[in-house]
């Protein structure tokens, strides 16, 4: 590594070429403010409402989930289910027209209603985000080096030289070939995969403890997609940061995430460790999602559009369970809102008549069927163990936040 490293890497010049020691990545590793075993992020009854042309669009409707520090969690759901809006809401990135209520606690600090000043320090600092389209996410008129350095300077006390060195180091960390040269290039000179690496480098500049990747690989070809996912997993493990990967792609979620949250109509309808979820799907919507995907000839990036029926109109949600109009199991009971409840250890769902309960037109449990055979899923080291935090049974988030 260049001499420059020594100027800021706390005197640790023993770092060898190539793999970068995470410790040298900057400030001494910060102890989490939260208690051990505490979730890093607790989203509770998050609601986001837009008003557009006099219509109220309920993009997020009582979303609740928890995220274990250092873990990788996938949020999946149909287009329009509120994945992007909810994650932007917790970073304070929504336009002022968005009405946000509910609670998001990050390491115990409430983010909703946090003053912009504090929020700004958090953004790109403790929480960072990578977006879907790397072609549009970088400023076309700025050199990539300047774009990374800007982030570095915002979240450290490094001077110009130090920030430069740090930025190059970040580019090496995300395995950008010829980092020193690329530093002086513009986004249009890079390929899609390289741009997304730059985006990740920018996101890592503040040493985040939470990285939100909003369909970060959707715009990339399959090979590059796999490379970027591998990189994210590696960084997650090496830097001990938590990752929320937002995806359309159940297969991608199954291969890389430890936990999966399934969103429907702006709320979480099922949430479990990946292995548990795919072995034992309970929420009819998740079931339909899996059934909608033919195992082999599925397009890698296809949307779940084959689920029968339409996603609900967010400005006129049905009474009770939002999936009711499309649900084969629906009964009158479903006119009541089903709470998201931890029915089995670590397995939460929001449904009165889950798959396998023998009610309604229950198609029966689909364990072991479909593209995501648990035997296959278990082969993936990422799936082998769920979060070590054991959840007490019977916990639940109700859609309107009251305890039941």
């Amino acid at each position: 590594m260049s001499k420059r490293t020594a100027t800021y890497a706390s005197g640790d010049s023993g770092v060898s070429e190539g793999v970068i020691d995470p410790v040298s990545l900057g400030k001494p590793s910060r102890a989490s403010a939260a208690q051990p075993g505490e979730p890093l992020l607790v989203v509770e009854d998050l609601r986001v409402q837009f008003t557009r042309g006099g219509r109220k669009i309920n993009a997020v409707n009582g979303l609740s989930y928890e995220l274990t520090p250092g873990s990788m969690m996938a949020i999946i759901g149909e287009s329009g289910s509120g994945k992007s809006v909810s994650s932007r809401a917790l970073m304070g990135l929504l336009p002022p027209t968005a009405k946000i209520t509910g609670s998001v606690r990050f390491e115990g600090r409430e983010l909703i209603g946090m003053p912009e000043r504090d929020m700004r320090a958090l953004r790109g600092g403790d929480i960072a985000m990578v977006f879907q389209d790397p072609a549009r996410s970088l400023n076309p008129t700025m050199k990539i080096g300047a774009q990374i350095t800007e982030a570095v300077k915002l979240h450290s006390d490094l001077d110009k030289k130090g920030a430069h060195a740090r930025a190059v180091e970040l580019l090496k960390l995300v395995r950008l070939p010829a980092a020193e040269r690329r530093f002086h290039e513009y986004p249009h000179q890079l390929s899609g995969g390289m741009r997304q690496r730059v985006m990740i480098a920018i996101a890592l500049a503040g040493e985040p403890r939470l990285l939100i990747a909003d369909e970060a690989t959707t715009a990339l070809d399959v090979t590059t997609q796999a490379q970027i996912m591998e990189l994210l997993v590696e960084l997650q493990q090496r830097l001990g940061m938590a990752v929320i990967m937002i995806s359309h792609d159940l297969g991608l979620a199954a291969s890389y995430a430890q936990d999966v949250v399934v969103m429907y109509a702006g709320r979480a309808v099922e949430h479990a460790p990946t292995g548990t979820l795919f072995a034992n799907v309970r929420m009819p919507y998740t079931h339909a999602l899996l059934g909608a995907i033919p195992a082999l000839d599925r397009e890698p990036h296809s949307l779940f559009e084959v689920t029968p029926g339409q996603p609900p109109d967010l400005s006129a949600l049905p009474k009770g369970c939002p999936f009711r109009p499309r649900c084969p199991n629906a009964t009158d009971k479903c006119l009541d809102d089903p709470p998201l409840t931890e029915h089995e250890p670590e397995h939460w769902w929001a449904c009165w008549h889950p798959v396998g309960s023998g009610l309604g037109n229950d198609p029966g449990p689909r364990a072991g069927t479909g593209p995501l055979d648990p035997a296959v899923a278990a082969d993936d080291p990422g799936l082998a163990d769920g979060p070590d935090e054991a959840a007490g049974p019977g916990r639940h988030h109700t859609p309107n936040g009251e305890q039941r």
């Binding site: 990135l93 336009p95 953004r123 513009y186 249009h188 985006m199």
Partner: protein, 346 residues
């Protein structure tokens, strides 16, 4: 947010042709651009001068008649026509003029016998000063106002700037000129109503004589630039994903606006300013008339009235040249400022 963000808005596209023109082929791409543009100017110049000549020949009367007045006898007129060379066929006269023009000799005024180059050296600085003042002042004011307005769309600043710019754009510049004269010259008496004071008579007297004409041209420009830039900035801020990236990095709202959005909006602004320049020069004709300023515009009007085709041609050549140069400068600025073009990739 994502709903609108997915609408593709590809600013590079609109500059696509430029990008390919400025390839990094042989030598300096900038030099190639300059040469290319100047070569392109040749047919443009030929076209406008031929057209001007033809249109002038359609207007009844010629310089000889104008010089001698309505009382002149046909014999006198014929004699003077002969002396002035107006008896030759139009094609010959044009070619004679062209022959001189390509060697840099724009000839002499048929009416005053003064060499055109001398006339231009007196008149160009006047028009140039008005235009320059109008441009600089309108841009210097428009940029901060647009930034303030775009920082909080629909905020107080935005609303005020919207009202002012709508008003400014809906008033024709000669009406504005008369209003300005009425208020600042007639009623308040702060500034001269008409006339030009050359720079040699002192900077302040010169500026005083230029303030109203420049304002009459610059105010609508200011309104136009403000509207354009504000709109483009708001588009960038609301629709461009790189803005979200910047905000997600923790960049403050003003920095996002100035360092990121404005940087991108400035390309559009440069284009607008460049395109404006050609039209603007034409707009000075009426303003110079109102304020009795001895500029190119006034010269053109007088020359048309006296059918002094040599001087008319000179004015037309100047106007066309300015338009060509303005375009060239815009392209050069792009080449220098926009990395996507500088590196010759799309």
């Amino acid at each position: 947010m994502t709903a609108t963000a997915t609408t593709p808005r590809v600013p590079a596209d609109s500059r696509g042709p430029r990008a390919s023109r400025v390839g990094r082929v042989t030598g300096s791409p900038v030099l190639r651009l300059v040469v290319k543009r100047l070569l392109m100017a040749i047919p443009i110049m030929l076209g406008v001068t031929v057209l001007t000549f033809w249109v002038l020949s359609l207007i009844p009367g010629n310089a000889a008649q104008q010089l001698l007045g309505p009382e002149a006898t046909p014999e006198d007129i014929a004699l003077l026509e002969q002396q002035l060379g107006l008896d030759k066929p139009g094609v010959v006269r044009y070619l004679e003029w062209l022959q001189g023009a390509v060697t840099g000799d724009l000839g002499q005024s048929i009416v005053s016998r003064q060499p055109v180059s001398e006339i231009l050296s007196q008149r160009l600085p006047v028009t140039g000063e008005i235009v320059l003042l109008a441009f600089v002042v309108s841009l210097v004011l428009a940029i901060p106002v647009a930034l303030l307005a775009a920082h909080k769309p629909d905020g107080v600043m935005d609303r005020i700037s919207m009202v002012v710019s709508t008003l400014g754009l809906s008033v024709a510049n000669y009406v504005l000129a008369l209003l300005l004269v009425l208020v600042f010259a007639v009623t308040l008496g702060w500034l001269p109503a008409i006339g030009f004071v050359p720079l040699e008579d002192g900077l302040w007297p010169n500026l005083r004589s230029m303030i109203l004409p420049s304002a009459a041209i610059g105010l609508p420009l200011f309104c136009f630039y403000t509207r354009f830039l504000r709109g483009d900035l708001v588009d960038q801020m609301q629709q461009e994903e790189y803005v979200t990236t910047a905000r997600a990095k923790g960049v403050g709202s003003w920095s996002v606006l100035i360092k990121h959005a404005f940087r991108n909006s400035s390309f559009g602004l440069i284009t607008i300013v460049g395109l404006n320049l050609g039209a603007l020069i034409g707009g000075t004709v009426i303003i110079e008339q109102i304020f009795a300023l001895p500029g190119i515009g006034q010269m053109l009007l007088q020359a048309i009235n006296t059918r002094d085709f040599v001087v008319v041609q000179a004015a037309v050549v100047i106007f066309a040249l300015v338009a060509v140069l303005a375009n060239l400068i815009v392209d050069l600025l792009y080449a220098v400022l926009d990395p996507r073009i500088r590196y010759g990739s799309s």
